[in-house]
Amino acid sequence: MNWLLRYLSVPDLRRAPGRYALSVVGIAIGVATIVATLGVADSVVHSFERSMATAMGSATLRVGSHGAGVDLEIADELRAQDGVRGAAGIIHRSVVVTGDEDVRLTLIGVDMVGDAAKFSQALRESVSIADEVEFLGAPDSVVVSGSWAADEMLALADTLTVMAVDGPRELVVRGVTRGAALEAAFGGRFLLMDLPAAQLLLGNGSAVDYIDVWLDEDAAVDVVRTRLATVLEGRATILDSGELARRAASLIFAVRVFLMMAGFVAVVVGFFILYNTVSTVLRQRRDSIQLLHALGTSRRSILSWLLVESVLIATLGFAVGVALGRAFASISIEGFIATSGAFLDQPTARLDVQWVTFFIAAVSALSVAALATIIGWKRILPTPEQQVRAAMASADAQGGPNRWVYRSAIGCFAAVAALVVLAPRTLPYYPLVFYLLTTLGIVLFGFGVLSPVIAEWVGRRGFEWAVRRPGFPAVHAFANVGRDPGGLVIAASAIVMAIASTLAVFSLTTSLERTALAWIDQHFTSDAIVTVKGQFLQTFTATSISPDVLAQIRDLDDVRIAQGIRNVEIEYEGEPVLLRAIDMVPAAMELNEVEWSSTEDAFGRGRGVFVSENLAHWRDISVGSTISLDAPAGAREFTVLGTFADYLNSAPGVIVIARDTYTRVWGDSRINRVRVWGRPGAVALGDGMSEVVERYHLEVTPVSVARASFAEFIRGAFSSVYAMVGIALIVSFAGVLNFLLIAVADRIDEISVLRANGVSAYQIMLSTMGEAGIVGAVAAVLGTVAGFAASVIIITVGVPMVTGWFFDFHFPLLPPLQVFVGAMVFAFAAGLIPGVQAVRLSAASRRAG
């Protein structure tokens, strides 16, 4: 085998470096597609999960009611229990550091001389404070992360301005972290304060966000947990690290599902590209391989040689693809982080590709290269038995052409219909991903299987059309497609997959955007919304604002109504949901089943709540049913007065409660935003509020701007769609290019005959490009139809299962048209290279004699 590598592969590489380069590029594109898509998913999901896990540190249990917080005094009660070694209150919030450009950082507040410092090794080892007495004595002291301090060139005694509950507050850097433990947990973007200082800054009073509990080494966790639950009497909930991770995952449930599905499409498309590329290289050397066999080299030796060569090429392609994929992922990750940042304290947009992604990409590259090599080898050097079987299969096919294809396609579509009809309300993460991938996979496979049949039909009809007209290229191009459609299966299937998935995402984006914008028009009845600067879309992670701000806004002359809104994360049946407390104002809330006027009184008196339709869908909640919510003073029951649509919050679901009730039960009077209605004639609410706005670092967003920002947010959330368009076009180009390179290599004799019979180089090139265009068009049409089918399934079945939302179905016409035309143009352009190659293959190839 070594001699084959040395005397055939190496000279071949020197003679035709372009062919090897093409293979490397093809494999690199496949690998890059996988690494980029899964890499973004890794970064979003794992960085959050790791952040949660590391933040918990060595603590065994976490006690908290989230959002509204728990009273620090509870820590003393917990510490007094048997089996508890220590308990420490923690502040864990997202804060805005103002400057030329506002930056969101994670603020951690811990008692620097309490149990946290005692039991958290990461904290002990990572924090370096120059003067501890000064640090603890001054409420403006802050420790900044080492990497951020380096980026911002911050040194000890420098100051930075942070948005506090009552406006901007200047803090002094009195320490810098070192080492990797905390940096890794918060992505290098965090501030650390002493607990009382942090509570003061955020207006928490005596509340903390949660209490971490360390147990004695010999304590039975379950026993202690039961004991603590008894002590808490429902004032707070207890979570272990596993539950915490599960909770984190549930918060970004929809993002994870969609990223997983995008990853699956990437792997499949990558598979097609890889397979196509390796097959091309092999087929182009068919003559050499057959000659070697004829000269006595065994089939096994030839296979070993080809496998080693493929693996070497795949390895090089993998290395290039990883670099490319990381670059793509770095570009597109910002959009995903911006999306998830509305719901989560996402520490950073740092790219974090997991080893498992590299593993999947490497296995895909190597296994597909090996698979394509083995299949190609079998085709080029069939055993006598295989030749007989192939001949018999060919004879059978004469009797019933494409019958199995039709049966397979019908079977696929019947299976999909059954899956859609039997779709459950929702499923846990992995079964849901499996369900959606299976359903969509079968749809796409069905259309992929149909592609050669459709191509054959188009080729034969096109041929009949072309022969009735003068000219040669069209006749030749249609004849090639119509008589040999099997050759384009892989190319066409890859294009179908890429276009279909792209269009499905387009449809999803459009449906979400149109449904949500119509919802905004209906629900955003105020003139403007006041939030902390840059936090219009923030819900769970929005900075708290003092209730004084609401009072000051209400006092303004231009303001007719100001409605304070508080968003906090609470538990409902063990899962996080968003509790939204709203002031009672003379403005109706749009409800699904009932009129606001009939429920207003009960709602205002705190007898009932409204739930979002996604929460109602998942938990089977209906109007009139009773739900129980954990509150600091114990569980409280509320009647569900109505349901409503809310397209700003997906996975967790929303419960709306009157703010008076919330303040009374949860003991929290802070707000996150204010909806403002101006007096008739008030021109610009922002101008009237400028003093308040400036003092508290707020911004006033007119509803028209809010509408635009929301539309922008949706587009940003699906920014990857543009990367998918790029991938679809690259797949079209690469697929058709490889397919035609094989075809041209197979047709040397044919081209020689054409040239000898007076067909010009230009006509041959036109014919080859025409064939490319036909393949591209067939695949683009099938891809569009498949994309439409996939869109219907995603929007009518998938979206309700994943988000609980019900969209109006929209299939935009322009983007599919653009993708369709783009794919055809790319496919047509891809025909140019084999076309030029075809021209070079003149009758001179028959030089012997």
Partner: protein, 246 residues
Amino acid sequence: MTGTAEGIAELRDVHVTYPGRSEQVHALRGLSLTVRRGEFITVMGPSGSGKTTMLNLIAGLERPTSGSVCVNGQNMAKLNDTAASVIRRRDISYVFQFFNLLPRLPVGENVAIPLRADGIGVAEIRRRTRDVLEKVGLADRIDGFPDELSGGERQRVAIARALATNAGLILADEPTGNLDTRRGEEILNIFRDLVEGESRSIVLVTHDHRAAAYGDRMISLRDGQIADEVAGKHRGADVSDFPGAG
């Protein structure tokens, strides 16, 4: 059809050199040949003697390193691809030993290739295609595909293609090499009839001395030069002692 008084194709002191790994390969060394109208030339010679290169030069598929190749008075070496293609489709027809037909085109469309390439109207293409296939006895196979034909039938389709264009010059590269004796003779008789009945010119490359004997003139090539040339005693004469035969 135009051309010089001397011949439909003329090669003058033609040299063809290919770059080799260590030294240049001389395919033709100063070859001069005139193909006269209505003349049947057979060319013999061992492999590598330059037979196919000579045909490719006449067809304008290759260019000489030096010397000139004229077809109907036009120097093929100086024509661009489009102009050379026009001559190939109108004035020349090429018949190969093995692969003459495109497998994915029906027989009729295989015949029509040069006509379509020339932009001829569909009705005219149909008429000519039917006529020429009738002439070679394959009218009933017009919609069939090449893989349904025997070797001899495929060669007859290739000849029908030559008839369809009214090409004055037919270049045949071992057209009978793949056929049994009887079918080979059928093809050679068709060629002979084309020369005698329609004044077409034929340059036929062969290794078979019986096929060579069908020519009016027999040329033996060796090392890129004409080694010998004799007047033919066509229709089956014994030329076994001719250089290059057998």
